[in-house]
């Protein structure tokens, strides 16, 4: 392989990487943030800087992890070139007739966790709650952002609109609760029950506590908003049943700290994203990829 080719592959890969980060950052910065109710714009600015940097770190960390895979045998050329070719092949595969098979493998083995179900119902439920909660939260966020910030869908904006009450208020609390349930089981199992197979080192503890802090922080923030009657948070809004429950134990003047609480939750969420490639949470990406790669490779067998 010539140095020229290597340089070309490298340049193309990093250009692609920069392009992805740029597009995502642009979307983040250009969103109108209709549902962000901080009174001091500076808090929003700090959050935006943090999230853009966190997203860049997430992609950079993921890229470096994947480039380590590309050092392995079985492919030709420099790691950067291998990755580019693999990305093209993967895209072709996803767009091919084999998409159905890819999707079914993903659904059965990576989402439904078919194997774990047979081995431990409790762990399966725990994992499903965390994964399901996490994914539903992400999807819901996407739906709300698109309908609110792009489509300006009125029932999502109005305080008494069906979409606002059922998706933004009830929906987020419900999926948050699912996630919280899963995390509480995981934390209880890891720190209290401590079965023999569980081995807790710092990264394990940090991952779970980080997630718990972000999820609980979300409910607390909502409680602060309701108790403090911040715009978009109606008092006695029992659609946001968990946020509402938190609001009941909060003083009325807690609203003074809404901006700070919002920033802490936002920054923690952003940092969690940045932390993924450097933690055990990276398995959220690596495991489905490995499962798909394993299942989609044709078996070599003698005639």
């Amino acid at each position: 392989m010539s140095d020229g080719r290597y340089l070309k592959d490298r340049t193309r890969l990093y250009l692609l990487f920069s392009g992805v980060v740029f597009v995502i950052s642009a979307v983040i910065l250009l969103l109108p943030y209709e549902t962000v109710y901080v009174r001091d714009e500076a808090y929003l600015d700090v959050f935006l800087v943090t999230i853009v940097v966190s997203v860049a770190i997430f992609f950079l960390g993921t890229l470096f992890n994947v480039l380590i895979w590309m050092h392995g045998k079985g492919l030709e050329g420099a790691p950067e070139g291998r990755l580019l070719r693999l990305l093209v092949r993967a895209a072709r595969l996803v767009l091919s007739r084999r998409f159905g098979r890819i999707a079914s493998v993903f659904a059965k083995d990576a989402l439904y966790l078919s194997k774990l179900k047979d081995r431990s119902a409790m762990r399966w439920a725990m994992h499903l709650l965390i994964l399901g909660g996490f994914m539903s939260m992400f999807l819901l966020d996407l739906v709300v952002t698109i309908s609110l910030d792009f489509l300006k869908y009125q029932p999502m904006i109005d305080d008494s609109g069906w979409a606002k009450l059922w998706l933004r208020d009830f929906g987020f609390d419900f999926v948050g609760l699912i996630l919280l349930f899963g995390l509480v089981i995981a934390a209880g199992r890891r720190f209290i029950i401590r079965p023999k197979i569980v081995r807790t080192e710092l990264p394990d503890a940090v991952s779970i506590l980080f997630l718990l802090a972000v999820v609980l922080g979300g409910f607390i923030l909502e409680g602060v908003g309701i108790a403090g009657e911040i715009r978009g948070h109606q008092l006695d809004n029992d659609y946001s049943f968990l946020g509402y429950a938190f609001s009941l134990v909060m003083p009325a003047d807690i609203g003074r700290y809404y901006d700070q609480a919002w920033l802490i939750h936002g920054v923690m969420s952003a940092l969690l994203i940045a932390y993924i490639p450097f933690s055990k949470l990276f398995h959220m990406i690596a495991t489905p990829v490995a499962i798909e790669a394993d299942k989609m490779l044709p078996e070599v067998r003698s005639a």
Binding site: W69, H71, G74, R82, S120, K280, V300, A303
Partner: protein, 408 residues
């Protein structure tokens, strides 16, 4: 500073190291790391985390920004040694919720250790030399390979496949050919094939080691050489079917040889083949064999090749024999402890594991413990003797032979 060369680790293996969720499901059922000695570094999770830590410290983002970290020779050697305390039984693959193909991972990890000068272990080097010099791991001369057949040469017609065309090639394997205590396996197999009227032959002294030992210890280059030679021999003999009586040879020829060259014959294990003979009515089991039997699934046959039903169907077809299952059976079967070079490098550990398996068999109340792999047979028999167990170790072909031929 030693920089690890990770170019020998598979792309897929590197993905799998990251895909490990550290759940620990593999740790309790691991026969060597969990059950026999409770050492985290020997367990699949322990090995994955340690190796990942090593290569990430030299290839990860921090290494790119601040330079690679030095890993002490002591820690590297510790990992190498622990990595070989694994029988590559595949129990971890069965239980892994992340669907990691750990069998491939361990074999590949050993290839990586060899490439980095950390393996093979001294105990394995002797075997490697023996295979290189004598074409078998038992330091036996090549001219003695077909000696097992002398005892039955008047009774059974075994063709010389290097000279005569035969339908079925019986690939005997080094252990059954050379170990005087295991030879009966080859003899019984030949008698059963003859009884069914199978047109079969062997490569005689020309048969070479299949290379399984080399592959499982990470010596891929040497193993490929052996594979190529054997494929050439198969080509010359051109049988329709290759029957192996060793589960290790079966896995190697069926799964590993196609990566080197095409094997133009159907590769089957003798348990599969005999079951087909029974189902096709070509072999009749009409003599009673009284007793209770329990079957030990060899890892290379069961977890590695998913052959669970065939040996059981054979046993159930033998009149008078009652088949009972051990608590851990089929894909959950405990390993015998001999595979993956453990018996050679860590004989005490192997003995400890096989003793656990014999205990499993004892609990069933069976009279016979049977299997279909010479290596499992060897180690389980030794444990039965060491424990003073009332169990009798028999090869599955011995039971078939007793049921289909007149007493000899």
């Amino acid at each position: 500073m030693r920089k690890l060369d990770i170019s020998k680790l598979d792309v897929l293996a590197l993905m799998r190291y990251d895909a490990c969720t550290r759940c620990g499901e593999c740790t309790t059922t691991c026969p060597t790391g969990g059950e026999a000695q409770d050492v985290e570094l020997v367990t699949p999770r322990g090995k994955i985390l340690r190796l990942r830590e090593f290569y990430k410290s030299q290839y990860g983002m921090r290494a790119k920004l601040l330079g690679p970290k030095e890993i002490s020779e002591e820690r590297l050697k510790e990992l190498a040694s622990r990595a070989y305390e694994c029988t590559i039984c595949g129990q971890c693959k069965t239980v892994c919720p992340a669907h990691l193909d750990t069998i491939e991972m361990w074999e590949n990890m050993r290839e990586f250790l060899v490439a980095n000068g950390l393996a093979p272990l001294p105990a394995h080097e002797q075997i490697v030399k023996s295979i290189e010099n004598y074409d078998n791991p038992w330091m036996q001369p090549r001219t003695q390979r077909s000696r097992w057949s002398k005892r039955i040469e008047k009774e059974v017609k075994i063709k010389d496949a290097t000279k005569e065309k035969c339908e079925v090639l019986f690939f005997v394997g080094c252990t059954a050919a050379y170990d005087p205590n295991i030879r009966e396996m080859a003899i019984d197999t030949a008698r059963v094939l003859a009884r069914a009227g199978v047109d079969f032959g062997t490569l005689g002294n020309e048969e070479g080691c299949c290379g399984s030992t080399l592959l499982r210890t990470g010596l891929l280059g040497s193993a490929r050489g052996l594979a190529r030679k054997n494929i050439e021999r198969f080509e010359k003999a051109s049988p329709s079917v290759i029957v192996t009586s060793c589960a290790g040879c079966y896995k190697t020829i069926r799964q590993d040889y196609p990566k080197v060259g095409k094997v133009n014959a159907r590769v089957v294990h003798v348990a599969q083949f005999v079951n087909e003979l029974l189902e096709g009515g070509k072999l009749k089991l009409d003599k009673r064999v009284e007793g209770v039997v329990t079957f030990h699934d060899p890892c290379h046959l069961g977890r590695h090749n998913k052959l669970y039903d065939e040996p059981r169907k054979i046993l159930e077809a033998i009149p008078g024999l009652k088949v009972v299952e051990m608590e851990r059976t089929r894909e959950e079967a405990r390993c015998c402890g001999a595979g993956g070079g453990v018996k050679t490098a860590f004989p005490e550990l192997a003995q400890k594991i096989s003793s656990l398996r014999v205990e499993d068999a004892e609990r069933t109340g069976a009279d016979f413990l049977t299997t279909s792999c010479p290596f499992c047979y060897q180690s389980l028999k030794a444990s039965i003797e060491a424990r003073g167990s009332r169990l009798k170790m028999v090869d599955i072909m011995e039971l078939v032979r007793l049921s289909c031929t007149d007493p000899v």
